[in-house]
Symmetry: C2
Subunit: 251 residues, 2 copies
């Protein structure tokens, strides 16, 4: 069933009203009619099943049929931070990682990042990635849209570390050295609602000096199995493992 | 370190010889010279570290420096079977799933598959996917190249089921019905070297009649968490979960 996000905070009302882009999508893209159903997700993560009661020139009126019951979100918060990768790889990291439950995204210029984005380009890219996150959140039936923050300096990134309970760095050398304990240990001891920052390098990986700085700031190196994963694959492994451990294995 | 596959079966020799495409890649793409090192993977999954002793017009001669120690392969065999998805999605399922440890791939026309490939097109596509699997296997440091089999009929697919110890179907309705037990149960009880077939639908999913047929043939429905994953994301979740459970958690 189709899923739309609204900026409104949920409160019980006899009618809810949709306009703008959502109106357009409901009436012109999906060609819905009176009595058709969809999910409506409010900004405070309440999701209702909504039935269309009427459609006017500019607005769709719906009423609540039921609340969505199933929990769609991971029991903890995971921020995926990526050193800017090449081309459109960040686009699809955001799309896939949103499907897999990422809470939000941070991009930053790592020392081996090849792309150089100025403020104007960053603003445009951020807009594009936010749109991708929204579409993926709708498609995968999330309860909120992950935020995307693109930083101009790696230093800014380090100042955010104090907001997190755990910080993991996926480091290729950790895989080669057969590091297998960090992730499983974290998932076995983590408390619900903990905030995790998971850091991934660009294609060229992190320099040893970058990894040293992350470690000085409480980050833990984390292997993701013995195979070498590409920059865009590693975040998907991590999120899948978190979901598997907390949503399937230890449910 | 660069990784090359050879069709040869490993036996201890004073010199190994590489020609053809591998020769070209070593000398012209990587521009390696005498004394440079790479991994050489034999068809019986033995991997050696090889040092170049000389390079001629058509051939590279290497000697064995050491055997590769780390196990690169999942402790069981996982065949990823996909109902043909649209566009180039199968390309990147093969690329990513090879990185994540898939043993081999089967493609088949599911009832909602939109693409219709004739024998000629299938042969071409198979060649292309095999090349993608090879490159991904080299990059991710696998011990063999996953095979790709593309079928012209869904019926042929069913005849292969008897080769497997476990058969899972990732079914969107299973996610909606909050099925969380199948995968964790399998990974807790599975014996090393078991052969698992994991089946994924195209964008339109499987029809109930297809799922019924799979179930009659010993397949078990399997949820992959509460979020709805796209056709190309679900296999990556499954492989990551298998790796996490068997290579990190229960190491």
């Amino acid at each position: 069933m189709q899923r739309y996000f609204t900026d409104e905070i949920y409160e019980q009302k006899s009618t809810y009203l949709l306009s703008g882009e959502t109106y357009h999508h409901i009436t012109h893209v999906m060609r819905m009619k009176e009595d058709d159903l969809f999910y409506l997700v409010f900004s405070n993560q309440v999701t209702i099943q909504a039935r269309i009661t009427s459609i006017t020139d500019q607005k769709v009126y719906v009423k609540e049929v039921a609340k969505e019951r199933q929990e769609k979100e991971l029991p903890l918060s995971i921020t995926i931070a990526c050193g800017y990768p090449k081309g459109d790889k960040f686009d699809w990291i955001v799309q896939k990682a949103t499907e897999l439950g990422a809470t939000d995204f941070i991009g930053f210029p790592a020392k081996t990042s090849i792309v150089k984005w100025d403020q104007k380009k960053l603003a445009k890219k951020q807009q594009r990635l936010t749109k991708i996150a929204q579409e993926a959140a709708e498609q995968s039936q999330r309860s909120f849209i992950p935020e995307v923050t693109l930083l101009a300096k790696e230093k800014e990134f380090l100042t955010l570390f104090s907001q997190f309970d755990y910080i993991l760095v996926a480091y290729e050398e950790a895989a080669k050295q057969d590091e297998t304990a960090s992730l499983a240990k974290l998932l076995q001891e983590v408390q619900p609602k903990s905030r995790i920052l998971a850091i991934f390098g660009p294609e060229g990986g992190f320099l040893p000096e970058e990894v040293a700085t992350f470690k000085q700031n409480q980050a833990v190196l984390c292997g993701l199995g013995p195979r070498i994963l590409r920059a865009e694959t590693a975040p998907l492994y991590l999120l899948s493992a978190v979901s598997y451990h907390l949503e399937l294995l230890n449910k």
